[in-house]
């Protein structure tokens, strides 16, 4: 398995020249016309295949074997809800993409790229003759349009894109010719390409100038009138609706916008609320080793399902070809296992990438000075951590799968830090009591500890009620905290209230959350539990803000060791070269182990997905993540049905 993906990786990344030779050889001689388009080519509506492909198409080595075009890939989306799921199946075509095993990067839309020694200068080469799904050429003009007229345009910009900044300045994009452009940074920006490969951070390949310019005031002086006709106040709102770059739901609801992706909408979600259908893009830039244009599947058909239980039944019945979200829960596994034969499907393994199943986060920026001081005392957090009987939680909530661990790196990853992963995981209520007796020895009549002001120390965990596993676990944790004299309580609340009180508020005592990352590149890009640097580090809202906007009056200046950690992280992000990056990350993790800001329960056990037995080329084991949008990097374009 690894052997094949490794070979694919080397073929694709190390030698673009090699790929070009194969590509040319295969292509010029025998690129085959798709049966799906034959009629349109014959009638002259579409140019023949050789004119639709770029000069140097990307040659994909299939995971198992080459296949043939045709068929439907049957999928489902739950609710009118999140269309970011679509990214996973048809929406991941960045300039450079992650390899199927997430060990590195491989060229995709870009044919190749070069980085200079210190990571300040990136040169990208696009493919000659590459086209959007309507046949219009995709060139550096489209890249420049995004950069100048969207990203840097005062009205059209949505902000964000922190990876485009280094040394306090935005990267400069310079077009060299039709297919070559260069991005230059004022300071080293070591993770630029990794960031561009992250799902939905690939805006440079998503903005067709020839389509979007009609909505942009710079190119169409009547854009405002156009917007008013469509019931919007100004061109800005309409332009945002049309490009949808910053909202997946908007992005995937527009079937008129040309795309570089393997499939394009015939009827987009929302245009039809029961079913969405995407059909093959005649100009898709990839071929297999035999010269067949990809994707293999002619169509992706998404049923819109309102309830996960319905999706489960449909999967049992074999109506769904592949599914690892929504229904792939530990509780459903026995049901799915029993139905394997009737539904004609099998399983694949998902390597979970979250740093922990649940991370306890005390509000280290609590407005109450007494609680603030206590929460910022390492021994207090340590006491709470050893007061938790993790094995009991694992046995009850995760049917015994997993092993006690703090939010940390997976043991099989080179960055694994044993102290960070295992310190203070031993269940020891006596030690917890001893530590707490040092800090807050006074108790009231009911045995609960009093703080230095003589108030009973209540510790209220505010939880989002949709996260049922957290609530299940906290039911067991509360008595464990009470046993060491802490008046712990749980408030589960509606999500929107939780968002307001916890994610955007400062007044909460504590909360629990998950995600983060447990390996390699992902952990460096999402280091939320090792250093407070963005809003996902719920435990330190004020310090997070200090990282990005130290001048902001809401920001709170962290103590010096946290500040040093933030500086180290900033330094890491500027570093080019895997070796130095790893060294700095190791140091960051070592510091995180010293600081022990948050604690957790267990590393997440492996998940699973179900796939129909007739699906070919599906990888048997893959990470589960959004940045590496499972299963997109395993290349759905080369899936087919035998």
């Amino acid at each position: 398995m690894t052997k094949i993906s490794r070979r694919a990786f080397i073929a694709a990344s190390s030698a673009f020249a090699g790929a070009m030779v194969i590509g040319r050889g295969v292509l010029a001689a025998e690129a085959k016309e798709s049966a799906y388009f034959q009629a349109q080519v014959d009638s002259g509506e579409l140019p023949p295949i050789a004119e639709r492909l770029p000069v140097n198409p990307l040659v994909i080595t299939p995971t198992e074997r080459p296949g043939q075009q045709g068929g439907d890939w049957n999928h489902a989306l739950v609710g009118g809800g999140s269309l970011s799921m679509v990214v996973r199946y048809q929406g991941y075509e960045p300039l450079v993409r992650y390899t199927p095993d997430w060990s590195g990067l491989t060229p995709n839309v870009a044919e190749s790229y070069e980085v200079n020694e210190d990571g300040t200068e990136y040169t990208f080469h696009l493919r000659q003759g590459m086209k959007w799904s309507d046949g219009h050429p995709y060139t550096t003009e489209d890249v420049l349009f995004w950069y100048e007229d969207i990203f840097l345009d005062q009205d059209a910009t949505m902000g964000g894109h922190t990876w485009w900044y280094a040394g306090g300045e935005v990267g400069k994009l310079e077009v060299i010719d039709d297919v070559t452009f260069r991005v230059t940074f004022a300071a080293p920006n070591g993770f630029f390409v990794q960031q561009l490969a992250w799902a939905r951070q690939d805006h440079m390949v998503l903005a067709p100038k020839h389509y979007l310019q009609q909505f942009h005031i710079k190119y169409n002086p009547d854009a405002n009138t156009l917007a008013q006709e469509r019931g919007m106040e100004s061109w800005i709102a309409l332009f945002q609706r049309e490009n949808g770059l910053d909202d997946d739901n908007v992005f995937f609801q527009n079937s008129a916008r040309p795309t570089l992706m393997g499939w394009m909408w015939q009827s987009a979600p929302g245009e039809n609320t029961e079913q969405a259908i995407a059909v093959r893009n005649p100009y898709y830039f990839k071929v297999d080793t035999e010269g067949t244009q990809l994707p293999y599947f002619d169509r992706i058909v998404y049923q819109m399902v309102a309830d996960p239980e319905v999706l489960l039944l449909k999967t049992l019945q074999g109506e769904i070809d592949m599914m690892d979200q929504y229904i792939a829960t530990p509780a459903n596994k026995p049901v799915l296992f029993d139905a394997q034969e009737t539904g004609d499907f099998g399983f694949y393994t998902l390597k979970e990438t979250a740093a922990n199943v649940m991370v306890f986060q005390l509000n280290l920026n609590h407005p109450d000075p007494v609680k603030n001081e206590l929460f910022n005392t390492r021994e207090f957090r340590q006491a709470l951590s050893v007061a938790v009987d993790r094995q009991a939680l694992i046995d009850t909530v995760f049917v015994g799968q997993g092993a006690p661990a703090q939010p940390s790196i997976r043991p099989d990853d080179p960055l694994y830090n044993e102290r960070l992963a295992t310190q203070h995981t031993e269940y020891d209520p006596e030690a917890a009591n001893a530590l707490l007796d040092e800090l807050i020895p006074e108790k009231d009549g009911e045995g609960f500890r009093l703080d230095s002001q003589g108030r009973r120390l209540a510790l209220i965990f505010e939880l989002d009620q949709t996260r049922t596993t957290f609530i299940d676990m906290m039911q067991l944790v509360v008595p464990m905290f009470q046993a060491v004299g802490i008046d712990a309580q749980v408030r589960s609340m509606d999500r929107s209230l939780w968002e307001t009180r916890v994610r955007n508020g400062r007044e909460f005592d504590a909360t629990c959350h998950q995600f983060g990352a447990n390996s390699g590149i992902a952990a460096m890009l999402d280091a939320r539990y090792f250093v407070p640097f963005n809003g996902n580090a719920l435990y330190a809202p004020g310090w997070n803000l200090y990282y990005t906007e130290p001048e902001n009056p809401q920001a709170i200046e962290p103590p010096s060791e946290i500040k040093a950690q933030q500086d180290l992280y900033r330094d890491l992000l500027g570093t080019a070269g895997a070796e130095q990056q790893n060294a700095k990350m190791a140091q960051l993790l070592e510091n995180a182990a010293d600081q022990f800001l948050v604690f957790g329960v267990s590393l997440p056990p492996d998940g699973y997905g179900v796939v129909k037995n007739n699906m070919v080329n599906v990888t048997k084991e893959m990470p589960n993540s959004f940045g590496w949008p499972t299963p997109a990097p395993t290349r759905p374009e080369q899936f087919f049905k035998s």
Partner: protein, 329 residues
């Protein structure tokens, strides 16, 4: 007389509607956060990172920072002046399109189940009243209470499992996947019928039980009245006695309930519709409320208000027709 009455009722509706629209809009705005908060929650749920600066910018563009009154004015003036119900954030389409699209299947299912309820409840109710305390009465009462007691969604899930397990049919929705886009044909119609019986039974069972009980109680009262005894004494056949007078009076509650039937058509069967994956308005409304898609949700609630008012008017008129003792004032 009647014409003036109707005009008067219609005029009274205007202030009611204004009040309703304000309350509907305010209630939607009451929960903390707005559409963007719920969007962020959804995106972080799937592990995506959201930049606060981007969100602030979106909020500005969508006009979510404006005071509630201004937002309300934008919405209501669009409806009054241009007939424009606004734009759904979540679906990125005009609200009116979304609502109309779902109306056909919603009406079809609701009317079908309403007819089912009446077709079952009327004869059983009459039978139970006439043959009170007979074996048949007890049997139907037992079944009726069973139908009332079993939560709709459990019944729906059970029936779906049964069709999946024993009939091997595609579950949920109104059509099998291959028929969703297909043009109308005999095959599609049969496919529709094979899906439609589940929602009709599920939605029907609880309604049936309630109606049977109401009819039985009302009819029992009527049957003992002197005019019935007189009619019987004069030798009218039993079925004629029962059907011609007492049943007509016992029907009053059916008719006065029509006021509630219309809005029920939209929101009444939401949970069942979600479980069964029916393309009706209920799940769309629920989704709009959950994701705080305020224009869609507000328009739905307003529409339900209008339907309630119309339903009330219709039921008042029908009641007057049915029962000459009731007069227009």
């Amino acid at each position: 007389m009647m014409g003036r009455y109707i005009v008067k009722r219609l005029i009274y509706m205007v202030p009611t509607l204004i009040g309703m629209s304000i309350i509907a809009f305010l209630i939607i705005q009451l929960p903390p956060g707005d559409y963007l908060t719920s969007m962020i929650a959804r995106m972080t749920e799937s592990g995506e990172n959201v930049d606060p600066a981007q969100v602030a910018r979106l909020r500005e563009i969508y006009g979510l920072d404006d005071p509630v009154l201004i937002q309300y004015w934008k919405w209501i003036s669009g409806i009054l002046l241009r007939g424009d119900f606004g734009h759904s954030f979540e679906w990125n389409r005009p609200v009116s399109d979304l609502i109309w699209e779902r109306m056909g299947s919603t009406l079809a299912i609701s009317l079908a189940s309403l007819l089912f309820v009446w077709a079952v409840a009327l004869p059983i109710g009459i039978y139970s009243a006439v043959r009170r305390h007979s074996f048949g009465d007890y049997a139907f009462t037992f079944l009726g209470f069973l139908g009332l007691a079993i939560p709709n969604f459990i019944l729906a899930l059970t029936l779906m499992y049964v069709t999946y397990r024993y009939l091997g049919q595609s579950v949920g929705g109104l059509y099998s996947p291959q028929y969703v886009e297909a043009p109308w044909s005999w095959g599609k119609f049969v496919d529709l019928l094979s899906h439609l019986w589940i929602p009709i039974i599920v939605i029907g069972t609880s309604g049936t039980a309630a109606l049977i009980r109401i009819l039985r109680a009302n009819l029992t009262d009527e049957l003992n009245k002197p005019y019935v005894v007189t009619a019987k004494a004069k030798g009218l056949p039993e079925y004629k006695v029962v059907l011609k007078y007492p049943v007509r009076i016992a029907l009053n509650p059916f008719v006065s309930a029509i006021g509630w039937v219309l809005p029920e058509l939209i929101s009444g069967v939401t949970i069942t519709a979600i479980v069964l994956n029916l393309p009706t308005a209920g799940p769309l409304l629920l989704r709009a409320l959950v994701s705080q898609d305020m224009y869609l949700a507000g328009s739905f609630i307003l529409l339900m208000g209008v339907l309630t008012l119309i339903g009330m008017l219709v039921s008042d008129l029908l009641l007057a027709l049915l029962d000459p003792r009731i007069r227009f004032t």
